[in-house]
Amino acid sequence: MTGATTPMAPPLRTKELPLAEATAVAEHEAPETETHDGDHGDGDDHGHGSTTGISNNKLMMWVFLGSECLLFGALISTYMLYKERNEDFAANLAPFSEDGRNIGPRFGGADGHGVFDIPFTSASSFILLCSSLTMVLALSAIQRSDYYRFKIWTAATAALGATFIAGQIYEFTEFYEKGLGYSTNIFGSAFYTLTGFHGVHVSIGILMLVALLIMHRQGRLNSDKSETVEIVGLYWHFVDIVWILIFTIVYLFPQ
């Protein structure tokens, strides 16, 4: 095969290609210490070798987070609708027929009124907010090869996340004792499903943070691979922004 018969790709020209800016940023994302020794097979491509010039791993995470907007949008919308219906239908529908059979969704009964402990949940929210700060400080530390601070901030993020989860378990226990169970009414079902899903996401995030620490301990995570930390960070911050919405809509909006 000769060069004359092989079609050659035209050189990239920034003004004609919308991805040129992305290419420029992706080029920056590769640390200056990177050796370009072909070590891109383990997932940290930093945009090199991808047809778009954008890191495939980060792109995948952003697509995932975009789809998560739909998941949490569904849960928040369902909560809002069921909360409204729980109040509207409380006086009109009985959950059981005369012979005691469950004939449909339950309305009325315990809900957010007098059950939520706003000062406690505010403290939990503050803890999760702090964890976002420690996460971004961990990323900043590994990007400048400050591994000591990276370990401290990552461990702090995991610890703050675990504290948030412990608070949520305590809170759920309190709510249950006050009469708000998962199947008490449609409000309880929607509330526990929404906050429970968020709690599961935080728990997965904690596992990811612990995995980062283990990878670093094994020598498989350094400043050249900081994009891995950035991707975990994106997930963690997303969990934080979802809680920003849940905290306001579920706890703070007037009951």
Partner: protein, 112 residues
């Protein structure tokens, strides 16, 4: 003719560094977020004395500001390639559109 891609990464490199927040800036952003959260919690306790519509409005505005501050600064969407922003905004707009239809379908706003 020299292609733009020969020069763009170098220019963008400096530009990117110049705008990337420092640790202290991250701390300042976190302090602002904490203050906004404190204002939100304070508004909750005004339920008795302020009309519900104003509480809804104020809390929603604060929630949106906090949301976009985390997305822009902590998630670096302000500094990263516009493609990530477009992907995330697409998911967000799709979710808002779908669930707006959901609310109207169930007459959540009592318009029917």
């Amino acid at each position: 003719m020299a292609t733009a891609t020969d020069q763009a990464p170098v220019e963008s490199h400096d530009d990117h560094d110049a705008h990337h927040p420092s640790d202290w800036e991250y701390i300042k952003i976190a302090i602002i977020l904490a203050i906004l959260t404190a204002i939100e919690v304070g508004m909750f306790f005004l339920e008795e004395s302020v009309a519900a519509v104003w509480l809804y409005l104020g809390l929603t505005v604060l929630m949106i500001i906090k949301f976009f501050m985390v997305v822009a600064y902590f998630m670096h969407l302000k500094y990263d390639t516009p493609w990530f922003r477009r992907i995330f905004v697409a998911g967000l707009v799709l979710a808002i559109g779908v669930y707006a239809i959901f609310f109207f379908a169930f007459d959540y706003f009592g318009l029917g």
